[in-house]
Subunit: 187 residues, 2 copies
């Protein structure tokens, strides 16, 4: 792992390991994709999301994830800098407080650049980005929230690896909604 | 779901959803495959296995799983009847107390047969068997124990489904070893 780079993942997945349907849809995710939360459902707060977001300097995501987030009712990252892995022109968010830039290159090069820019603690989002950084040994923290549904198909959270990745389980919390959140470290 | 059939799953999976390596190997599973448990590791008992086994009348597994279990140092199911989904001749376990029979047919037919035989509460084991019974709506209880490792490839626990399967989360327990066990119901 690069000297001071810490890649963190905070993601919801179906019990069978998908982070979205094939078309990118998150309709199976309670309260996501701009849907109002079910008022009859128990409230589990934000599942630690605000606290997680406060623990990182910036975000790095793939182009497909960025385009999905652009479709949300609100830009969810405030003024936190967001780097998008893409070689194409970016459409910027309508929210004027959004800080978005394009980056490209392999995980090690991108990580080094983010460290140089003073943003070593990076929230990695999107299936391909997460998979590439896991394979490159650049993920230090993994927070997975399991949604109690089997989708049968979709965009997988995990992918091929050059070797086993051993994790250290830190905490697990279950919520009234049936979501189960586990935090792992990769040393 | 058939009138009184209850299919139950009790299985360990890697964090990326594999129940074995491609060659069937369970070497990544602490204490499994006849390996002695690491004496330096914390003891987490049997992760509820004996209690789970006591809650079922019989087992149903695929041929590949059966052949893997035959290679274990000990036959792990005592006198609990084990039905093996196969159309080929079975090699029987060396343990004379083992009760093993061959069955074939689609999940609904096999489930009906087990109910007729007075064994409605069935422990389903093996990736293909679990996937087929989930797809047929014949799994009522799912106990998944997540091992804190990413394998990158292997035999997947879950597979394609004709439609989303919504689960009800019942309990989650984490162990000193880093294993996290969740119990779900499918109504």
């Amino acid at each position: 792992m690069h000297a001071s780079f810490e890649g963190s993942v905070f993601i919801a997945a179906s019990l069978d390991g998908f982070i979205a349907r094939r078309d990118g849809s998150l309709d199976w995710l309670p309260g996501a994709n701009g849907q109002p939360a079910d008022p009859a459902a128990p409230s589990d707060g934000d599942y630690g999301y605000a606290s997680f977001l406060a623990s990182v300097d910036s975000l790095l995501m793939g182009r497909a994830t960025y385009d999905t987030v652009l479709g949300f009712a609100e830009w969810p990252y405030g003024t936190k800098p967001v780097a998008v892995l893409t070689t194409r022109d970016l459409v910027l968010p309508a929210d004027p407080s959004a800080v978005v830039s394009a980056v490209s290159g392999d995980p090690a090069a991108v990580a080094a650049r983010l460290v140089d820019q003073g943003r070593p603690r990076v929230y990695l989002d999107g299936g391909r980005t997460i998979q590439q950084f896991l394979a490159a040994g650049l993920v230090g923290r993994l927070v997975i929230t399991r949604v109690p549904v089997l989708l049968g198909d979709g965009i997988p959270l995990f992918g091929p690896l050059p070797a086993d990745v051993v994790l250290r389980h830190e905490t697990t919390e279950s919520f009234a909604s049936g979501l189960v959140q586990s935090t792992y470290r990769i040393d």
